[in-house]
């Protein structure tokens, strides 16, 4: 049954080609999947709605620069002083 063998072999070849193609796609997608998975984990800790509203105050980080601006614009200064930087860690 040479014809049938040939047909089966062709089908097997096609299946093999499809599998190889799928494997190649899967391998290519692996880094992207890893990126997505990492981004999903990172998203758990990123700021949520309202958690960065305190930045809307427009804080200066330099005391003397704030003093100079107060003199230039004739405004008072409001200072938030903390053991640890309020604009950084803690």
């Amino acid at each position: 049954m040479p014809h049938l063998r040939s047909t089966l072999t062709g089908a097997a070849r096609s299946a093999s080609a499809v599998l190889m193609a799928l494997f190649a796609v899967a391998v290519a997608a692996l880094p992207l999947a890893a990126e997505d998975a990492l981004d999903q984990k990172l998203a758990r800790v990123l700021p949520r709605a309202g958690e960065e509203d305190w930045m809307a105050v427009g804080w200066h980080h330099d005391l003397l620069a704030a003093r100079d601006e107060a003199e230039r614009t004739n405004k008072p200064v409001f200072m938030w002083l903390m053991d640890g930087n309020p604009l950084g860690g803690t």
């Binding site: 804080w59 005391l63 200072m79 938030w80 930087n85 860690g89």
Partner: protein, 342 residues
């Protein structure tokens, strides 16, 4: 952190509109040796406010809120705990200070006007990569103090040379030390604990680069156990429970052939326990703590100019060794850092 929530209130944001707002770290002024314009101005300012004295006569931390005019005259001030999370007290302080300022006539140059002006405090070296750090307890165990719902934040400054090492598949010692001691620690409720060298029970971190067209993608993977034993009350301070963090670390760094960094993400997931003296009320027992770092963008204005918490006391120490120096009033382990402070 909860203190930031105070300034998320729309009424408080509106009330601060007539002001120049500034937020600074006591450490940048009080504990630096330079006798310059900044120090002179700052000292004259905080000395106008009575500070609670410790039993040994040393004045307590000046942290709190101040309203003053550009000539250095203080118009209103309040300690931290008095107004913390009390909206009406903050608003009253703002109104009191603004009213006094309106009736004030500046009488000359500010304190320290003749002193030399120091360059920017802790300037960020140009060859550092800037990351934003966020952390939260997720999920927050039922019944926990609400302060545990807060978002912890920080910045990380990574020397570019370390990034180049990672691209080659090598993890520099300073990189993992900085990560372990300065960044992978609980600051959700505030002041983080400063672990000593002996508290790092184990850490593994690998960098695996692979080429992807015109860029190199580096996979970071590892785990860490940091743990400090409980301490009984003694002359150095009150009792403290055991504290630690056990986590898995994974990350990804993407650097193009031109040297541009398009991605630098690190995520630590694990369990933390205990608390630092200044940041009590964690969830009971072990609790899930997630810490994430991502590449800063130009919009992350503060990350480029406000130093990482671990740099307080010595930026060079932070950059070179990754073990933060212990502050004078910091209660930590009795063990010395792995390397001497320079």
């Amino acid at each position: 952190m909860s203190r930031r929530l105070t300034f998320s209130d729309p009424d408080i944001i509106a009330a601060l509109a007539p002001f120049v707002p500034v937020a600074v770290d006591c450490d940048y002024t009080e504990r630096r040796p330079e006798r310059d314009r900044l120090r002179a101005f700052w000292e004259a300012l905080v000395d106008q406010r009575s500070r609670k004295m410790f039993a040994n006569g040393v004045p307590g931390a000046p942290q709190g809120f101040y309203v003053f005019s550009h000539d250095g005259v203080l118009h209103a001030a309040a300690g931290y705990n008095y107004v913390l999370l009390h909206k009406e007290k903050i608003l009253a302080l703002i109104a009191e200070g603004l009213d006094a300022w309106k009736h004030h006539t500046p009488k000359g140059p500010p304190p320290g006007a003749d002193a030399p002006r120091q360059a920017q405090m802790y300037p960020r070296p140009a060859d550092t990569v800037v990351l934003c750090l966020y952390q939260r307890i997720d999920p927050v165990p039922v019944g926990s103090n609400p302060v545990n719902n807060c978002l912890g934040r920080d910045h990380a400054w990574i020397p570019r040379a370390e990034v180049d090492e990672l691209v080659q598949g090598r993890v520099p010692e300073a990189f993992w030390r900085r990560l372990a001691f300065a960044h992978l620690r609980d600051n959700v409720r505030g002041f983080p604990f400063e672990f000593a060298a002996g508290d790092l029970k184990s850490i593994s971190l690998t960098a695996t680069p692979r080429r992807d067209a015109d860029r190199v993608v580096v996979a970071l993977a590892g785990a860490m156990t940091m743990s400090a034993a409980a301490r009984a009350e003694d002359a150095k301070g009150p009792a403290r429970p055991a504290i630690g963090y056990e986590c898995k670390i994974e990350g990804q760094l993407v650097v193009s052939d031109s040297g541009a960094i398009s991605r630098f993400t690190i995520v630590a997931e694990g369990e933390a326990w205990g608390y630092n003296i200044g940041a009590p009320d964690p969830p009971p027992g072990r609790f899930p703590l997630v810490i994430g770092l991502r590449l800063a963008t130009p919009e992350d204005r503060l990350a480029w100019v406000v130093p990482p918490f671990g740099a307080a006391g010595s930026l060079s120490m932070y950059l070179d060794y990754g073990i933060p120096s212990r502050r004078k009033n910091q209660i930590g382990s009795d063990e010395e850092p792995a390397r001497p402070r320079q």
